[in-house]
């Protein structure tokens, strides 16, 4: 094994596999076993002794087993990060930031310099990635090791080509669960948050994109992974459009700095949510009958050729809804997409290329996808599966292009559930801030 493979990493190896390692390799305990408790040293989980038991008084970690099993039969191997990067990457991106984007970007750079932790609350479609470029370029020029992590593979896959284009001379490593390429030691790493569990004290700057997304928010192991992957002196940046209560609490306790961007790059406000109450919409759809408002909207879309997304709570409902729509409006052409769909990427691509007019989907398309000029309909928005963050993100799919900066977001639900109300309130709050910011700005078009 090459030394570079272990720089700033913690890899699980059995004694057999660990025979030929570089001399400077540190061997760390994989599971910490005491009489009272059992803690995995990779993911930090406290384990149930009975569940973690192996024969012969050995133990294993069942919490992070998908990344390869940590057990008392193995050890973690680590070489401390030397920041050994030959060539410094330069920013080759030629684009322009808007005034507020530039202000945010400068703030991000200063926070990196000061090794601070912060949260950037930027609305959906604000151009978060571009705002990172100046800060990233600065950090890379210092010879720092930088990572951008996201809970979602799709986000990583979308970020990678954009960053590769912005830093065209820089080698970038892309790590995720389905990756087949071998690991490369690079100054800039893009990875899923799960992959951070394989790093130890590696990064000077760590950026976590979509920090409120599943599974990061629900999984304390991933929070541990972030802490462990950071060097003792380092900068951490969380990016989100929908911060959780927990993150905002950290801001109030001054554990996190907060910067704000309530306007989209085209200076327009977010489309607001329109709720239509419809009792027993699912019972009607199940027998192939479209609820009357939905029928009206679809007729309009069929007329104008307007493209749209329909979100439903469950995978099993996809086919039913599609059949009903097909039957009522055979001229509309569309597809269904869900998380385990093997043709998922191809179908989204078909939508992007305007080959189909609509997609019916579950929450998987709630974030990370930009389909210009679409409208959105959410069926059963009061279902517990839609969190406040998910609803705000879904609403944020609309009006993302400067050609069509507005659009319609419509919810059909049986009742005003709490997440629905909170989502409406959050969009209104952000729009209020955005309006104020726009009023304080000098009157210039963003395009000149």
């Amino acid at each position: 094994m090459q030394a570079t493979e272990l720089y700033g990493r913690q890899l699980v190896l059995t004694p057999l596999a660990a025979k030929e390692l570089p001399a400077e390799t540190q061997k760390l305990e994989a599971l910490h076993v005491t009489a009272q408790q059992l803690q995995c040293q990779r993911c930090g989980s406290l384990l149930d002794r009975q569940l973690a038991q192996l024969p012969r008084h050995q133990f294993y970690c069942y919490a992070c087993i998908t990344l390869g099993r940590v057990s008392t039969l193995t050890s973690l191997y680590h070489i401390s990060e030397p920041n050994d990067f030959p060539k410094k990457g330069e920013l080759t991106w030629q684009g322009q930031l808007t005034a507020q984007q530039a202000a945010c970007a400068t703030m991000i750079r200063h926070q990196f310099e000061a090794h601070q932790r912060q949260l950037l609350w930027a609305v959906t479609g604000a151009g978060k990635t571009e705002m990172l470029f100046p800060g990233l370029a600065w950090a890379l020029a210092q010879g720092w090791r930088v990572a951008i992590a996201s809970p979602r593979v799709d986000v990583c896959l979308e970020l990678y080509p954009r960053l590769q284009a912005a830093f065209s001379n820089l080698e970038i490593a892309l790590l995720h669960g389905h990756q087949t390429d071998p690991y490369r030691y690079c100054q800039l790493t893009i990875c899923t948050t799960h992959q951070l569990l394989r790093f130890r004290e590696a990064f000077d700057v760590l950026i976590v994109d979509e920090v409120d997304a599943f599974p990061f928010a629900a999984n304390p192991r991933l929070g541990h992974a972030v802490e462990q992957a950071l060097k003792p002196v380092s900068a951490l940046l969380y990016l989100t459009a929908t911060p959780s209560q927990d993150l905002l609490r950290q801001v109030r306790r001054h554990e996190l700095g907060l910067s704000y961007l309530p306007l989209r790059f085209h200076q327009q406000l977010l489309p607001t949510i329109k709720v239509t109450l419809q009792a027993r919409w699912w019972a009607k759809l199940k027998v192939g009958c479209l609820p009357r408002p939905l029928r009206r909207w679809l007729a309009d879309y069929a007329n104008r050729g307007q493209r749209f997304l329909i979100f439903v709570p469950r995978v099993a409902q996809l086919a039913v809804v599609q059949a009903a729509v097909q039957q009522a409006y055979p001229e509309l052409k569309g597809l269904t997409v869900h998380a385990t769909d093997p043709e998922r990427l191809a179908k989204v691509q078909a939508m992007r290329a305007s080959n189909v007019q609509y997609l019916i989907t579950t929450t998987i398309l709630e974030r990370g996808v930009t389909l210009p000029g679409i409208d959105v309909i959410v069926l059963g928005a009061d279902d517990p599966i839609f969190s406040t963050a998910a609803l705000v993100q879904i609403a944020g799919r609309v009006g993302r292009s400067s050609e069509r900066p507005t659009g319609l977001v419509r919810f059909i639900c049986q009742s005003y559930a709490r997440p629905v109300k909170r989502a409406i309130r959050q969009i209104k709050l952000v729009n209020r801030k955005g309006r104020r910011l726009r009023a304080s700005m000098p009157v210039v078009s963003p395009l000149d």
Binding site: L51, L54, P55, I65, T66, S71
Partner: protein, 225 residues
């Protein structure tokens, strides 16, 4: 809330009036109904009498007709399908020892129904014991230990069976030997237990060894076929 071991969704225990009146502790299912139904059970009335494979009638399948006849027959509990493959991937190769609970009950129930003098699990190599940490067969039966008077020879398994083609598997040499403390097998019936019957090479090697040492007959039980 307890979660299904396979899909990690929470399982709702069924609370019924008879259960409340029975005054018994709640029996928690370890896997949810939906996951359990992905496994296909094999009924002995519709299986090959040689290897236990599911087929339409109770006869010898074309693979078994090619083996030399001997006092051995195998019975399998489930068809080796995608769900079973995923299960073995997680349990055996990833080493998630908790998953032994999934088939523990059905396998022990099956063993009780069969009359035999000795129950012998197929052993794993000492190397596997170091890396995997348990014997997948004894994991279902009792404690996952690898102690049996049937043991692997030192030359066994430089390449795992699962990495070989059918031809290579059939050419595998005898990987087992009896330890000196083996009991007297003459006129005895031995029950061999293994995880998967694929070509039958492994379990038949073990059966041949036991029959050569004087056993009357050998019955094989495998979880999957």
């Amino acid at each position: 809330m307890p979660a299904c071991l396979l899909c990690h969704r929470s399982t709702e225990p069924k609370i019924s009036l008879p259960w409340i009146l029975s005054w018994q502790p709640l029996q928690q299912p370890v896997v949810c109904q939906a996951c359990w139904e992905t496994f296909t059970p094999i009924f002995s009335s519709q299986a090959c009498i040689g290897c236990g494979r599911a087929q339409t009638q109770r006869s010898l399948c074309h693979d078994c007709q090619r083996w030399a006849p001997m006092a051995f027959d195998n019975r399998a509990l489930f068809t080796y399908n995608e769900a079973m493959q995923a299960y073995f991937e997680q349990y055996k190769f990833k080493g998630d020892y908790r998953l032994r609970q999934v088939f523990r009950a059905v396998l022990t129930a099956k063993l009780v129904s069969i009359q035999a003098d000795f129950i012998v699990p197929i052993p794993v190599t000492p190397d596997t014991m170091i890396t995997r940490g348990f014997n997948q067969v004894t994991g279902w039966l009792n404690d996952g230990e690898n102690l049996s008077w049937l043991r692997t020879t030192d030359a066994a398994k430089p390449i795992p069976q699962s990495h070989k083609t059918r031809q290579d598997r059939l050419l595998t040499a005898q990987p087992f030997e009896l330890s000196p403390d083996a009991p007297d097998l003459r006129t005895k019936t031995v029950l061999l237990i293994d995880d998967v019957y694929t070509t039958g090479r492994t379990i038949r090697h073990a059966a041949i060894l036991i029959l050569e040492n004087g056993a009357k007959s050998v019955i094989g039980i495998t979880l999957a076929r």
